[in-house]
Symmetry: C2
């Protein structure tokens, strides 16, 4: 009998073009589900559906009125004529890059890629989406931020959340046990965007990872050396690289009395120490996560500790910490790491910090995070690089569980862009590399201009011509000034007769006739300096 209600609702749905309305309110799925629910019902129990629309036992006229009112309200939002108001924007949390931003981005990428290549890394690429199950169970509490694709028939897919899980999938799938690779690509997180601080839902990651069974801490130290090189070269101001170890954290949790099954969730809470005060972190541990006050206080003591190799040595002697084998293994590795970092001359920027947790589930050993210490523009951009060791992830993908130890680092490129953009003075950023404009002072010389520019292009010269039959010389020169084009090749009747081109230097307005035969070498000579 209640299928009648559905029929009534269906009636309203179509009357008010409910599908369109829902579409624009972002709740189509709801509409779809209702409609499908109805058809499912109708299909499944067709015999009982043949009832009069005039009897609705179980629902009231008031309920229907209410539904109708809601739908009319939705309709009203669409405007008088019911026409859709077209929204001209990029999706929430995303942005376009204009040519000036791209020029800055290209510069930053080149610096980073140069560093990765200097360290002998190859590069790979993976699809932007993975099978949904590939990503399942890899990100802990952050899994809710994964973008799923709509099921349009076929496989269930999700947009990649980082480049690390696809990398591990790639290694397992291709049975690769040794590789040093970088991967620069976009990843997707349905997070609350904070775009002014460079936090987007679509953003680039620049990852460098070393996979393979090697002697302890050598590849790990190289990752930190890479962070140090990149942040130095990008000249973003002073920075610190915090290091810690998952085994130290887990050992600390154990000796502080955290139950085994709460390690990960307590670790997530500790991870918030860079954004929250200890008081609030403690409150979350005790009130939300159900940790004892005593355990929380003991954790509080440890996570306030910072130092270098000396702190690792001291904690190895700590009566409580030294009870954990795990913690001791982590502390010994931190000591070794600092030894190698000394050889690389980077210990001035590195600090062993027990409050560093990093939220992701897959880390198994050393972890690190770089932060800028000169808060420019009063806005903190948070961490600009981070990573660690994840020895178990590849094994999660291997049918036989074979382990491929990995360590890597991810450069937080979007935050770096935000800073670089603020630093760059927009008028000074050139967005093209054009060397010369082919211009004319007189009318009816389009064909001659096209012929000349074709010669220049064929000789590898970067050149532009205005797409007008008869452009004014002034507008051609103005274009050069705006675009930063250094040279102009001016054609006129006289020049054509003499077999020359008038070469003009935009900055000095100096002009000189150059024979057509010498033009290309002259342009190269003047612009390659």
């Amino acid at each position: 009998m209640h299928s009648d209600l559905f029929l009534v609702l269906l009636y309203f749905f179509f009357f008010f073009e409910i599908h369109t309305i829902f579409l624009h309110c972002g709740i189509t799925m709801l509409g779809m589900i209702w409609v499908r629910a109805c058809s499912a019902l109708v299909g499944f129990r067709a015999p009982t559906c043949v009832r009069s629309l005039h009897s609705f036992p179980g629902i009231t006229v008031a309920q229907i009125d209410e539904e109708v009112a809601k739908l009319l309200a939705l309709k009203a939002q669409l405007g008088d004529d019911g026409k859709t108001q077209f929204v001209l924007k990029t999706p929430k949390g995303t942005r376009d890059y204009n040519p000036k931003q791209m020029a800055i981005r290209e510069k930053v990428f080149n610096t980073i890629i140069r560093c990765f290549k200097r360290h002998g890394a190859e590069t790979i690429d993976t699809p932007v989406f993975e099978l949904k199950e590939t990503l399942t169970g890899k990100y802990g509490e952050d899994s809710k931020l994964i973008y799923d694709l709509k099921d349009q028939g076929g496989e269930l897919l999700s947009l990649r959340y980082d480049l690390t899980v696809p990398f591990a999938r790639y290694l397992a799938m291709n049975k690769i046990t040794n590789i040093k690779r970088y991967h620069i690509a976009k990843v997707y997180r349905r997070d609350n965007p904070a775009m002014t601080r460079g936090r987007y839902r679509e953003f680039y990651q620049c990852d460098f990872d070393i996979a393979g069974q090697y002697d302890a801490m050598i590849p790990d130290a190289e990752c930190l050396k890479i962070v140090h090189e990149i942040l130095n070269e990008l000249d973003l101001g002073d920075f610190r690289i915090k290091v810690n170890d998952r085994r130290i954290l887990d050992g600390m949790f154990a000796v502080c009395g955290v139950p085994d099954d709460k390690f990960r969730t307590i670790c997530s809470t500790v991870d918030k120490l860079d954004k929250m005060s200890w008081e609030d972190v403690k409150k979350e541990m005790v009130n939300e996560k159900g940790l004892s006050e005593e355990a929380a206080d003991q954790i509080g003591e440890y996570v306030s500790m910072q130092g270098g190799m000396d702190l690792a040595e001291r904690l190895l002697q700590d009566h409580k910490m030294s009870q954990s084998k795990q913690a001791c293994a982590g502390l010994s590795d931190i000591k070794l790491l600092f030894k190698y970092l000394q050889l690389f001359h980077v210990t001035d920027k590195v600090v062993f910090d027990l409050s560093l947790a990093r939220g992701l589930d897959y880390y198994t050993g050393v972890i690190y995070e770089a932060v800028l210490t000169q808060a420019k523009e009063s806005v903190s951009v948070g961490s600009v690089a981070g990573g660690g060791r994840y020895d178990g992830l590849v094994g999660m993908f291997d049918p036989k569980g074979r382990r491929v130890p990995c360590v890597g680092v991810s450069i937080g490129i979007e935050r770096i862009f935000s800073i670089m953009e603020q630093k760059a003075s927009p008028e000074k950023v050139r967005t093209t590399e054009v060397q010369i404009m082919v211009a004319s002072a007189q009318k009816n010389l389009l064909e001659e201009r096209l012929q000349l520019i074709s010669e220049l292009w064929n000789a590898g010269i970067k050149a532009e011509v205005m797409y007008k039959k008869n452009p004014k010389l002034l507008s051609q020169l103005q274009y050069c000034e705006e675009a930063g084009i250094p040279l102009v090749a001016i054609l006129g009747e006289q020049e054509l007769k003499d077999g020359v081109v008038k070469l003009r230097v935009v900055a000095t307005r100096e002009e000189v006739d150059i024979s057509r035969a010498d033009l290309i070498s002259e342009i190269k000579r003047r612009t390659e300096a």
Copy 2:
């Protein structure tokens, strides 16, 4: 009373972990909808739900048995222990790129980008997904191939289908009326993949477009010049660039008696002439699209025509074609285009071909497509570049409908990769640029190796070291041969004492002692030649 059936089904759902089962059969949505339908029912009419599970009027035990049997069959597919069989693969129609493929890809991209920059193009980037409504109504019959994202609350999103529509959206949104830009990025189509022929669901597009109100055919001619330059430089063998004009097609349809509302669908059919015989195309027009046999035959005559400027001139005199103003406008522009192409010396590769249609809805003027004419490896790769003029697209996004005329070209990079991959001999492709390996012949020199390589990195030398405390010299040298590293810096007790490094040329096995002070300049001298 029928809610009872749902409760029973719900019971089975949970008993058999139906969600997991459905997940792996790719029909989760169905499961979700059923469950939600049930909860909707339960929520809405709670009072009527309080019934005994033992009475099911309206359904039979046979129906339940049938459902149970289906579920058990699904369960059986998951294996004996009910554990999920993990699938290690990339999504259908996608692939990873390994380092060798990436090295080839980088080379191809560099050639293409060099060409775009030579022509003065800036670059932009847009998000990988757009609001669904941004893509709606732009792709004609191909719209069904768009990937939608799941509605997870918020905006309805779709993966971009090409780079042209996002470009038009970008121009309208930023009120840009003049720009010459290239954009290299991945696009997504839920097509039937033909991966051996380089056809994927995720693939790169390399687009170059010129937006702005200019004199006729000048930017259009530059686009064809660019295709010519790129295909020449990539050295893929001989090629042809077919050109036509949407106005000529539409005029031809009109004078052949195609009804106005069938222009687009008939155009899609004509577009298949590169894959289907005329007979099959005609059959589709007449049988599926309802065109008269007479009209189809008249079209058949025109679409068999190929030529150059002469053909355009002849058709301007054609008694039927000349009746269409549109066709005449298109034919005059083709004539002008050929005039400019002669100045660029590229007419040898360009052919005016009336069978070229191109499926996309947004083209308004000249269209073109490049095909390789030397079918290598007996497999046809189809078109390797295509594009055209789309003067109306930006206006579709502008609230006031302001038009920004555009013309552009897209390089079919995946097909080009397929050919380049077949051409490249894999052993010759270097995947890194490493200049030198820091090695040692004796034990216990890890620290000295790390110190030296750090110096090299800081001097900008691309260098590697093995991540072992005591690697064998032989394995270090073997690594160099495999990776194509030309030099080795060998450290030993004696060299350390003498303040030198033994520099070994891998290819010749020649060794020479170089003082530490001269090492960096010596490496640069030997590798920058």
